[in-house]
Amino acid sequence: MIDFKLPDEETLLLKATAERFIADHYELALRNEMLTASAGQLPAHWGEMAELGWLAAPVSEEAGGLGLTPRQVVPFMSVLGAGLVLEPIGPVVMHCAPTLARALPSDKAAAALAPVLAGESIELIAAGPANAPIRATREGDDLVLTGSVPLLIGGAQAAAFWVVAECEGAPLLVRVPAGEASVEAYRVVDGQSAARVSFKGVRRAAPEAIAGCEEALAYGNDLAMVGKLAELAGLIDRLYRETLEYMKLREQFGRPIGRFQVIQHRMADMFIKREEAQSMVFLAAEAMASDDTAFRSKLVCAAQVKIYDNARAVLRDAVQLHGGMGVTDELPVGHMVKRLLLLTRLDGGRMAGLRRFRAAA
């Protein structure tokens, strides 16, 4: 059942800490300074994020987390997305940690996750592209991993990868320390650190691998998507608010340009797109609580398609309505646009979302 009740106190508290964090650390000039660090350098505020308990947010309490629901985490992720954080918070908090918490029995999950949630070890899910998955072959008691992930956000900063490997028709999760993979660091267009991570015949003892993890992987992928959609909804909201503000301030022809009807209608459209995005991300977050995986997946995909479309439309109008200022690097708009481009194109985009929506009958 989908319930649209208002956010509870825990949700608001978490969101408020995120807002304070952004205000303290992510003023544009400070962020620009962080961009000059090498792509492999550890993220600047990871320790603080761990201390705030963020890394443990959506992980169950049995596995050592705070046990917050996706619905409770969405506003927080929206603030961090709109704040343009450079730490790999989505890949760790919304993907790797909750996936492991489900894939492992709770005692083992707690042990595996302890250094991750404490901020001592950045660990990521590493899955190959859909058309070129990473393969695991058995050689005696060993598994041999071959394949690569062309773009892994945070990949250059990770201490270990949880590799999703195809083995005899089923997926396995195999932990590989970063030192055993080949990691080529680079920055992506919005300034986040990333890497191409390759596994060239990496050997692990077969019993270390986690089998029977399909359900956990599917849940983790959906939750990671919800995290991404929360970031996008936050970006859409901030672009909308900043553009609206500019329409009231910028004067041409003797009046604020927001008084021209053509601008008013476009701002009204942007408002509609922002409202839809907020609704759809909550819908997707609520759906995460469902035991019906097809239902859950269908709603998450629906939110993906709608929010990707709205994000692209808002991107175009936010830049256009800012005029020349919109194409500079001097306002937050330009930086938000790059984040938005990245987030909507990390996976197969709207086409992949539509295909999955259709498949999840």
Binding site: A39, P150, L151, E184, A185, Y186, R187, V188, V189, G191, A194, A195, R196, E251, Q252, F253, G254, I257, V262, I263, R312, R316, V319, Q320, G323, G324, G326, V327, T328, D329, E330, G334, V337, K338, L341, L342, R345, L346, D347, G348, G349, M351
Partner: protein, 386 residues
Amino acid sequence: MTDLLNSPGDQAFREEIREYVAGELHPDTRARVSRGAPLTREDFSRWQKSLHAKGWVAPAWPKEHGGPGWTARQRIIADEEMFRLHTPPLPGFGLKMIGPILIQFGALEQQQRFLPRILSGEDWWCQGFSESGAGSDLASLKTRAVRTDGGWLVSGSKTWTTYAQYANWIFCLVRTDPDVKKQEGISMMLIDMSLPGVSRRPIRLIDGTEEVNEIFLDQVYVPDDLVVGEINKGWTYAKALLEHERFGIGGIGRSKQLLARVREAADASGRAGEPEIANALDTLEIDIMAIEATTLRLLAAVEAGVKIGAETSLLKVRGTEIQQALTEVMLDIAGPAALAARDSAGVQEPFENAVYQFLNWRKLSIYGGSNEIQRSILATQVLGLK
């Protein structure tokens, strides 16, 4: 895509262009243009020399001032071929803006002094129109010229000045009379950028380049002989400037080149057959055809003596929409392969410039009269809705 201008005469003309370009275009420049990479000053100046040597550098100028004497049809064909062959599009500030203005309104001495240097590329011009408070509402510009002995002292600032870092001259709109209706107190002046009082601040753009600048003018002396035409007639000249080569503003050559590049990328990545990609590309090809057919139809009307006014604004609106849509389809084809930062270890051919071109080309619908302004021009001047 299909060439609409394909009579035997057209084909012979195309062949002539191709032959010359093949022998002249530097391979490095060609490679950068074909990949959508940022172009260097050298790319432009080297190519300008080649075109100048052949007498092709200013297609729309009258023959007596150094133009090639091409018909409007030949100019369209030349533009298309030049883009197809990956020649760098030369910045138009001298060749398409101040040059034609001086031909139409400049004093003889100004023409003799400046036109040959524009053709040869010895002078690099930039445009001082927009100000931070005067963009779409250009006529509200505030840069002031105050009368002094033998000339004017100009103070104020200009912005979005493309390639000012390469320029030695700037043509500016300045306010010479603050007490009349705002369009009637503006003059056009030619300013030597090396003069004391002229300074520049580069503006970093969303794609990481610094192709535009802010220009500051502090008590810069402009002698009377560097005022264009009459004092307080600058607005008329600025409007005339926007009408030059107005049949070229659809950017058909540019769109066709980009379409070809996107198709190549679709083929290279094995995605050309996907229905979404194929539909998007074919639709855009038809969009380009529609804008080309419209250009040719308007041109035929002009040649038959029909007066065409602001209708050409439609070419800018649709042309820029098509070009921006093409950069977006390119991103759809690339997916994550386009997301690495420029020149980083993660770049993947042929998508190494795709995101940056998408970002950079957001400007197309903003500069030169935003698409909102163009639609207002259509609505008021063509449709009579005012």
